[in-house]
């Protein structure tokens, strides 16, 4: 059930707020209207706008999966006006949710393939639904390698799930940080060099990456060196956006809109875009 006005958010309740890192919180949201909630379906890679009424709304990749039927989760890093306001909220607060918007990771096409998840910082958040889906339907997919990198150990998102991921069948979790601390015994390396060191095989594989532009840039170079073709490398883009509908004309890259033609693009599609960011 869609509202007639696509700029009108669904009133929603903040059910739970979980600290993921010093500046990232996981927001568990539930749409208030039971009929709308029932019909609210979404796929890995899609995003929603979340409103802090009186401050504004911003787009966030959904980190939960619809098949768990447990609302909508988004991981929000406190970085601007809206995200600061959202971080001030307490459970029970009323927020707005619009969406879901955008295309999604075509997971059906990845069935039987090895999947490499390469996420940096908060850019890891929209990749989490892929991991959840692969682990929920483990036999449908090949090996899963998860590379999660951050500036420091405390900035790694979804730490409570690391043990579960690492213990899952055919699954390998590689954590890496730019700078460690006294308790950190793991890797201290930039994500692109981890990609290179692991010698990920492009054979029957898909690499999905998201993170800061500079990380994606060098990760792409390493993946290509390993023999990945551009149609085997998938990313999800971010853009300034105000509507999610291809109308505000803020998030265009050439003649495509991140909000409705994306946010998920293969490198093959990106290399054909008129504008290169």
């Amino acid at each position: 059930m869609k509202p007639e006005n696509p700029l009108l958010p669904y009133l929603s309740t903040l059910q739970e707020l979980i600290d993921l890192t010093p500046d990232v919180k996981l927001f568990r949201l539930e749409l208030n209207d039971p009929d709308i909630r029932e019909g609210f379906d979404y796929k890995p890679g899609q995003f929603v706008f979340v409103s802090a009424f009186g401050v504004g709304e911003s787009p966030f990749g959904i980190t939960s999966v619809a098949h768990h039927k447990a609302g909508v989760d988004v991981a929000i890093r406190r970085v601007g006006t809206v995200t600061n306001a959202l971080h001030q909220l307490e459970p029970g607060a009323t927020v707005g949710v619009r969406g879901p918007f955008g295309n999604y990771f075509p997971l059906d096409e990845y069935k039987g393939k090895n999947i490499f998840i390469i996420g940096g910082g908060i850019g890891f958040a929209p990749l989490r639904p892929i991991i959840t889906t692969v682990l929920d339907y483990r036999e449908d997919y090949g090996d899963l390698v998860i590379i999660n990198g951050a500036r420091s150990p405390q900035d790694l998102v979804f730490a409570p799930e690391f043990d579960t991921w690492a213990a899952s069948p055919k699954t390998k979790l590689e954590l890496t940080v730019d700078a460690g601390n006294e308790n950190w015994t793991g890797r201290v390396a930039l994500i692109p060099s981890v990609v290179s060191e692991l010698k990920l095989s492009p054979q029957n594989a898909i690499a999905i990456t998201c993170g800061p532009p500079i990380m994606i840039h060098f990760t792409l170079i390493e993946l290509r060196k390993l023999g990945f073709a551009d149609n085997q490398i998938i990313t999800t883009l971010e853009g300034k956006m105000k509507c999610g509908l291809g109308k505000c004309a803020r998030c265009n890259v050439g003649d495509k809109y991140v909000c409705k033609d994306g946010p998920v693009f293969s490198m093959e599609q990106i290399s054909q875009l008129i504008e290169q960011f």
């Binding site: 700029l7 601007g80 265009n252």
Partner: protein
């Protein structure tokens, strides 16, 4: 024979329209010519080339509340804005009417923009064909023309003592009382001859010129004042913000320009279009390359307003010409 309305009958009719709905028409405001809501028909300006600002304000206001947020006793309610009253716009030029039709592509594409659709549905267009033209006009090169009836409900063409009336849509028919129009043996005056701008094949040439240093050179003198977007009938980029006034919160949409520094800057500071050249290229690429690819029509309607308004003489007609020639050079 043509359908005809005398000047006197026209004024009487406009007076009637004003009683039953909003009547919007060209008026003089200081030294500007603007579409304004009319309280007395004597304020309407009939003798003009084109208005300083386009009529897009009446479909897509420079600032407009999308909805109100009411919070009472711990309950939150969203109250969407509703356009109650019908409007008739008198004196819209064929180029501007085409501009509104161009804006329909993004705004009415499903899921349609609710407020824009309400404005559009409730507004009738009484066009005035152009008898003279501004030196900067080039609508006939951009898919329209001084007498183009395509995008108005009624088109009036001035002749001696009155106007030839073409009633083009049911919406237009509904505006007219019975027996208002008479027939007269008058013929339409010739359309003014406009300068030609070589727009044929411009989308493909824009694609080829995309990575040329041309854009950075051109943008050197741009002071990103945004006036081009402000006066343009087809610039439709917007911003959305919340405003809090005492107890009431409003979510407001307002015009924004791709020429603004920070137009594409995202939280965290990354800005994919951080140079003036890339922003200037965006404006012309949107109109002459992306819009044609997305919707099959040029996103510029040749009204010439940006040419008149630009303080540093950035001229879309010259740009189209130059871009057409850039390719000629690279082939040579």
């Amino acid at each position: 024979m043509s359908e005809f309305i005398s000047k006197k009958d026209l004024l009487t009719w406009l007076g009637q329209l004003m009683e039953e709905r909003n009547l919007v028409a060209p008026t003089r405001v200081d030294d500007l010519l603007l579409f304004s809501k009319i309280d007395q028909v004597e304020d309407i300006v009939f003798d003009f080339d084109n208005t300083t600002l386009s009529p897009k304000e009446w479909f897509y206001p420079s600032s407009e509340t999308l909805f109100y947020v009411e919070q009472k006793d711990g309950q939150t309610e969203l109250i969407p804005a509703v356009i109650e009253k019908e409007t008739a716009i008198f004196g819209i030029r064929p180029c501007d009417a085409q501009g509104m039709a161009m804006n329909d592509f993004p705004f009415l594409e499903e899921p349609a923009d609710d407020l824009y659709r309400q404005h559009r549905d409730k507004t009738a267009l009484i066009g005035l064909a152009c008898i003279t033209a501004c030196p900067e006009c080039f609508c006939s090169s951009m898919g329209s023309g001084p007498h183009d009836p395509a995008n108005v409900d009624i088109l009036l063409t001035e002749v001696a003592d009155g106007y030839i009336a073409q009633v083009l849509t049911d919406k237009g028919k509904a505006l007219l009382p019975d027996n208002l129009l008479t027939t007269a043996d008058v013929s339409s005056p010739p359309a003014p001859v406009l300068s030609e701008v070589p727009s044929d094949g411009i989308a493909e040439k824009m694609r080829q010129a995309f990575d040329e240093p041309f854009w950075d050179r051109l943008a050197d003198r741009c002071i990103h004042c945004n006036i081009c977007s402000y006066v343009c009938p087809t610039c439709y980029c917007f911003d959305v913000r919340d405003y809090t006034d005492k107890e009431r919160i409003e979510r407001v949409r307002s015009w924004e320009s791709c020429q603004s520094p920070g137009f594409t800057r995202i939280a965290g500071g990354h800005d994919p279009r951080s140079t003036k050249g890339s922003r200037l290229r965006q404006r012309f690429s949107h109109k002459l390359l992306y819009f044609p690819r997305q919707f099959g029509a040029l996103g510029c309607i040749g009204c010439g307003r940006c040419v008149r308004a630009c303080p540093v003489n950035i001229d879309i007609r010259e740009i189209i010409q130059d871009v057409q020639q850039l390719e000629v050079k690279s082939e040579a």
